[in-house]
Amino acid sequence: MSVLDNTTTILASGVRLTVPLAFAACGEYLAQRAGAMNISVEAMMLGAAFTSIATASATGSATTGLAVGVVTGLVIGFVHGNLSHRAQINTFVVGLVLNALVLGLTSYLITTQQFASHQVGVLSIPLLKDIPLIGQALFSGRWPAYLLILLVPLTWWLVDRSRWGLELRAVGENPQAADVTGIKVGVRRRQALLWCGALAGLGGAYLAVGEVGSFNQNMTAGRGYIVIAAVIFGAWRLGRTLLGCLVFGLSDAMRLALPALGVTLNAQLLVAAPYLLALLAMLLFATQHREPAALGRPFQRGST
C-alpha cells in the first residue's frame, strides 16, 4: 500500500471515530455553556449504544434503533437534570452514579442477552467520494453522520443567536442575576441536559448501529470523558471543540492503524492524548477565565 492509501485509510477511520464524539460534543458544549458540568455524557452514550442495538435487533430496523438511542440519552439527561438541577444533588455525584449504573446495567444485560447485528446504510456522494485523500473520509459515511451538517450549525445558532441560548449563557455565567431577570435557572439547565442527552444518545447510537453494528461490554470505553476533554480543549468554543474531537478521533485511528503499518509509536500515549491535551489546554487557558463562570456550580434561589 502506498503512503497515500495509508493516509486515506487513516483519515477515513479517523473521521468515522470523530463522528460519535462530535455529536456528543455538541450536546456537552451546550450543557456546559449553561453551567451544567455533565460527566454522565458517558452514561448517555453507552446507554444509547446498548438500546439502539437492542431495538434494532428486536425490530430489525437500525434506524429505529438510532431513534431509541436518542430517546435513551434524553431519558438519562432528564434523570440527571432532575437529580442535580431540581433535587440539587451534586452534579458530579449524579454523573458518577449514573455512569456506574449504566455501565453495570448494559454489561449485565449484554452478558445475559443475545442481539443480532444491525447497521445503518452507507451514503456515498458520487464524484465527491472520489476526491483523493479526503473523499473517502468525508463523503462516504454512514448516513446519520451527515446529520452533523445540520446539528453543528443548529447548536451554534441555538447558543449564540437564539433567545434560549442567550438565556442559557446567562445561566452559565451568573445564575443569580439570571434568576432576577426572570429566567428559570433550573429549567434552562434541565433543558440543556435534554439537548445534551439527545445528542450524546445520537453519538452513542451511531457508534453501535452506525459504525460497529453490534454492542460489546463498555463499548464507549470512556468516549464520554473524551468529549468532556474536547469541550475543555476547545475552551468552550464550538469550533475548537469540534477540532478537538477531530484530533482525538485521528489519534485513535492512528493507534489502531500504526501497528499494522509497522510503525512503533507508543499506543498508550495515543490513548492518553485526549486527556493530556485537555489538561494542557486547561493549564494554558485556565487563568483567562474562558469557562462559563458558574460551570459546575449549583444554583439555589436566595443563596448568593
Binding site: Q88, N90, Y108, Y225, G296, R297
Partner: protein, 392 residues
C-alpha cells in the same frame, strides 16, 4: 456533612440522643431512605427475574460469598480495607472543601510505585513490605499533588483534573508494566509484551495471621481501621483538623485567621491521594492477589471507595460500616458470578443504593420548599470556590 464538632464526653451522650431523636425532617429522611433502599433492591430483583435468574438464589450466593463462612467474611474484610482507606482519604480533602474524584488513578499509581520499589529494592524481609506501602502512599499522594499544583498555579478545576488524571494513570501503568523497570523478561514467549509486571518477591507481601491459613486477614485491615479512627479524631479534635474544617467551610475567614489556605487545601488533596495510593499498595501486596502490577489492579476500588465516602457523607467513622457493606457486595459478587449471574449485577445494586442514600435529605428539602431555609449541602461543593477566585 462535616466531621463531628469538638465535644466533651458529657456532651457526647446528649448529641447521640439528639441523633436518635431526629426531628420531623429527620424521620422523613430516614423513612425515605428505607423506601428508596427497598425500591433499589426491588428493581434489582426485578431485573434478575426478567433475565431468568432467581433473586433468592442470587441473594443466597452473595451471602455465601461474603458472610456465610470464614472464607467468605475474610474475603469481605480483605475487600473492605482498601475501600475504607480510599473513603477516609476522600473524607479528609472533602473536609477541606476539595472534591477529589480521581482515586481510581491514585490507587493505580500507588500500585505502580509500590511495585517498582518492591521489584527494585533488595531489603530484608519485614522492612521491604513497609517500604512498599510507604512508596505506594507517596505515589498516590504525588499523583494527587499534581492536581493540587495545577489548581494552585493555574486555577484548573480539581474535580476535572483528578478525573482526567485517572485516565492518564491507567495508560501510564499499562505502559510501565511493559518496560524493563518492572518486567525483566519484557518479551513473553509469544513475543508480545505481557500486560503485567513480574510478581513481587515474597518479602514485599503482607502475610496472613500466622498459623491460621484460612484466616487471610492481614495488617491492611488494621491499618485501615486505625486510619479511619485516627482521621476522625484528628479532624474533630486537633488544631490541624480545626484548620482543615475552617478551610472547607470558609476559606477566606480561614485565610484571615492565618491559615495557609492554598497550602493546606493542596496538602489535604495530596493526603487523600496518599490514602488511595496506600490502598493500591494493599491490593498489590494482598495475599489473595496475583501480586503483580497490572492496569486492572485497582478493579474499581477507587470508584467504590469514593462512593463509600459519599454514602458516609465524608465521616470516617461512618465509612467503616459502609465500606464493610460495599465489601459484602464485592465479595458476594465474585461468588455470584461463579453461579452464572454476571458480577455486573452488583455494580447495578451499588449504584442504586448510593442514590438511595444520597438523595433523601435533598428530596426532603425539595418537598419542604426549602425557601428561606439554609440549603443542605451534603458534600462540599466548591471544587473551585467562587470566593477564592475573587480573592486570590
Amino acid at each position: 456533612m462535616r466531621a463531628a464538632p469538638t465535644m466533651a464526653p458529657d456532651d457526647l451522650g446528649r448529641r447521640v440522643l439528639a441523633h436518635l431523636r431526629p426531628g420531623r425532617d429527620g424521620w422523613l429522611t430516614t423513612s425515605l431512605t428505607i423506601v428508596l433502599v427497598a425500591v433499589a433492591l426491588g428493581v434489582s430483583a426485578l431485573l434478575l427475574t426478567l433475565t431468568g435468574a432467581s433473586p433468592s438464589a442470587s441473594l443466597s450466593a452473595i451471602w455465601t460469598g461474603s458472610l456465610a463462612n470464614t472464607t467468605g467474611w475474610t474475603t469481605t474484610l480483605l475487600n473492605a480495607a482498601p475501600l475504607l482507606l480510599v473513603a477516609v482519604g476522600a473524607a479528609i480533602c472533602a473536609s477541606a472543601g476539595t472534591f477529589n474524584i480521581g482515586q481510581e488513578g491514585q490507587v493505580l499509581i500507588g500500585g505502580l510505585f509500590g511495585a517498582w520499589v518492591g521489584l527494585r529494592l533488595a531489603l530484608p524481609g519485614p522492612m521491604l513490605v513497609v517500604v512498599v506501602m510507604a512508596a505506594a502512599a507517596v505515589g498516590g499522594g504525588l499523583w494527587a499533588a499534581l492536581s493540587a499544583l495545577m489548581y494552585r498555579f493555574r486555577g484548573v478545576n480539581v474535580v476535572v483534573s483528578t478525573l482526567l488524571m485517572t485516565f492518564l494513570a491507567i495508560q501510564l501503568v499499562t505502559f510501565a508494566v511493559s518496560t524493563p523497570w518492572l518486567q525483566e523478561s519484557a518479551q513473553g514467549s509469544s513475543g508480545i509484551a505481557d500486560a503485567q509486571s513480574n510478581p513481587l518477591p515474597a518479602d514485599a507481601l503482607l502475610g496472613g495471621l500466622g498459623q491460621y491459613p484460612s484466616m487471610q486477614l492481614n495488617a491492611g485491615l488494621f491499618l485501615a481501621l486505625v486510619a479511619a479512627v485516627g482521621v476522625a479524631l484528628v479532624l474533630s479534635r486537633s488544631r490541624w483538623g480545626f484548620r482543615v474544617r475552617m478551610v472547607g467551610l470558609n476559606p477566606l475567614t480561614a485565610k484571615h485567621t492565618g491559615v495557609r489556605v492554598a497550602a493546606l487545601g493542596g496538602f489535604t488533596l495530596a493526603l487523600s491521594g496518599a490514602f488511595a495510593g496506600l490502598a493500591g499498595g494493599l491490593l498489590l501486596a494482598s495475599p489473595v492477589s496475583p501480586n503483580r502490577l497490572q492496569a486492572g489492579l485497582s478493579d474499581n476500588v477507587g470508584w467504590d471507595g469514593l462512593l463509600v465516602a459519599l454514602v458516609a457523607r465524608n465521616r470516617p467513622l461512618i465509612a467503616i460500616p459502609v465500606s464493610f457493606g460495599f465489601a459484602v457486595l464485592r465479595a458476594g459478587g465474585d461468588f455470584l458470578s461463579a453461579t452464572g449471574v454476571p458480577y455486573y449485577l452488583v455494580d447495578i445494586v451499588k449504584a442504586l443504593l448510593v442514590l438511595a442514600f444520597v438523595a433523601p435529605p435533598l428530596l426532603v428539602g425539595l418537598l419542604r420548599g426549602r425557601r428561606g431555609a439554609t440549603p443542605p449541602t451534603p458534600f462540599p461543593l466548591p471544587a473551585v470556590p467562587t470566593k477564592m477566585k475573587a480573592a486570590v
